[in-house]
Amino acid sequence: MAEIRTEEMLLNVGPQHPSTHGVFRVVVKIDGEMITDATPVIGYLHRGTEKLAEDLQYPQIIPYFDRLDYLAAMLNNHAIVNSVEQAMDVQVPERAEYLRIIVGEMNRVASHLLFLGAYLLDLGAMSPFLYAFQERETICQMFNEISGARLTYNYMRIGGVKWDAPVGWLNNLKAYLPRLREKMKMYNDLVTGNEIFLSRVKGIGVYDSETAINYGLSGINLRCTGFKWDLRRNKPYSIYDRFDFEIPVGQNGDCFDRFYLHVLEIEQSIRIVEQALEQIPEGPILGKVPKILRVPAGEYYAAVEGAKGELGVYIVSDGKDKPYRLKIKRPSFVNLQILPSLLKGQNMANFIAILGAVDIVLGEVDA
């Protein structure tokens, strides 16, 4: 076949585009159908959380964290309270720890469900999105009952949680879990074996462990390469050492592995919640903390396993009730950096499959 003359063209994807999951822009250089270069442009959602935090007392920072990864706000809550507690050596009552684990893991399920639905919608499958949202909605309703909000919970406090579970809430959750597991099996059967889907995600966007580590990736984006790295196991925080669960890892580091790990992790989260519901004791939900929280002067970094990866908070304190400097390690921000190198040399049709599988939330990317 004769060589077809192609011309380089700049294609602007976003910032307003349904498949960018928020206000995210990529300037793609294409030669015919092939991507030769990609430049992500971010910052459209930048609110300066880190600067604002310098003017806020520690408990006041918690609602700002809700608005970073707004799909997994419970885990964000956990990140900030965990960091302050580790810096101050606050003891958290048992019941509060269990409540945190329960809502955190359920939030991970909700976040993963949204990923599964939205990713399939990106790839042209409409109904899984509706199925996934049905389950996610049930979880959001439960969070509404326990915290008073569907998305921005502001539920955790330094030293515990704000409210105990309402009467019957824990039993309702216990009754719901088998149903969720059954539904997950059905969704999995519906989607994962589908050949059209597989041909779009298998072997696409591949990278190995070494690259992932060099890029500082965490969460599923690292585990998809077969590297077992989960902060719940590798740097245990809270009471995760009491639960029996597995860390699923991928094999090929492609989009399919990243997709499928979300399915597998939902199962593990359900397992953790089940065990936590069995073990949860009665007792206080808020520890003894001073009215005005002052973090001793020094520098601290602590991280939790967020829905997207390592979610850490670096605090520089000068002994006052407000942080001198607060830096948030946002997994979405770090994970997104690998995107240009994944896109280079790919067919334009794979663009959405690769971007979607990175699983970003722009509220967290831009902070």
């Binding site: 971010i42 910052g43 930048h46 300066g48 880190e50 600067k51 604002l52 003017d55 810096a87 101050m88 050596d89 606050v90 003891q91 690259t211 580590i213 060099n214 890029y215 500082g216 990736l217 590297f227 790295w229 520890g287 003894k288 903390v289 001073p290 009215k291 005005i292 002052r294 001793p296 002067a297 020094g298 520098e299 601290y300 970094y301 991280a303 390592e310 850490g312 670096y314 520089v316 304190s317 000068d318 002994g319 006052k320 001198y324 400097r325 830096k327 390690k329 921000f333 770090v334 997104l336 950096q337 690998i338 190198s341 831009d366 902070a367």
Partner: protein, 225 residues
């Protein structure tokens, strides 16, 4: 090697659990007995006497040495020895233990060389850039760049810092070593005005390209028009 003495010098101004500070009497109720065991050692500013310190736990703490702290101190000494053996005494401005984290302040000119060594030396292999941040200290006249590294193979962690004067904030970029700090450095450049030399793509990342000023500097007011 005379490192051991040197190290004592560097750390002896840091309060340890053994020296419970009488100034730090609890003004409010104690947090927990465990609170007194770990005292932060890095001090960006002088601690105020108002810092809470449970009085009740004060006597209990001095008896038991913290094994975690001792292990961290051992690691600190070892990293220190290796860095000094490779680059000489002058590259290190400080070597302290921040809680359990070995922390080194490295001279700005050697920032990249030291990190390159830590990254590729077989006995260290700090391959995972955990977090990078910058902090402005106007009263001390410098901006501090912090990099937390982790060694996936050996399980070590270390904090590295370097300081750049505020009006000529230039730090060698480590993006050629870690792909993962590319955007972090751009963010520090954007929000704190630190120029990373040899960075492949140093542009503003959060703020608009024509924006003037550095929002995370302490003299930048959120409230101005």
């Amino acid at each position: 090697m005379t490192d051991e003495n040197k190290n004592v010098d560097l750390t002896n101004n840091q309060p340890t659990s053994e020296e419970a500070d009488p100034k730090k009497q609890a003004s409010e109720k104690p947090v927990s007995p465990a609170a007194s065991e770990q005292t932060p050692v890095v001090k960006p500013a002088a601690a105020k006497p108002t810092v809470e310190k449970p009085a009740a736990a004060k006597e209990a703490a001095p008896q038991k040495p913290d094994p975690k702290k001792e292990a961290a101190q051992k690691e600190l000494d070892r990293f220190r020895q290796q860095i000094v053996a490779k680059f000489g005494e002058s590259v290190l401005e400080e070597a302290v233990l921040a809680k359990y984290q070995p922390t080194f302040v490295i001279k700005r000119e050697d920032w990249r060389n030291v990190i390159e060594y830590l990254r590729f030396d077989e006995s260290l292999l700090f391959d995972y850039p955990e977090v990078m941040a910058g902090t402005d200290y106007p009263d001390k006249g410098y901006i501090e760049v912090v990099l937390y590294l982790y060694s996936m193979k050996h399980g070590y962690f270390v904090t590295l810092k370097t300081r750049a004067p505020r009006d000529n904030a230039e730090v060698p970029s480590v993006t050629p070593i870690y792909g993962g700090v590319n955007w972090e450095e751009r963010e520090i450049y954007d929000l704190l005005g630190v120029t990373f030399t040899d960075h492949p793509d140093l542009r503003r990342i959060m703020m608009p390209e024509d924006y003037e000023g550095y929002p995370l500097r302490k003299d930048f007011s959120v409230w101005k028009e």
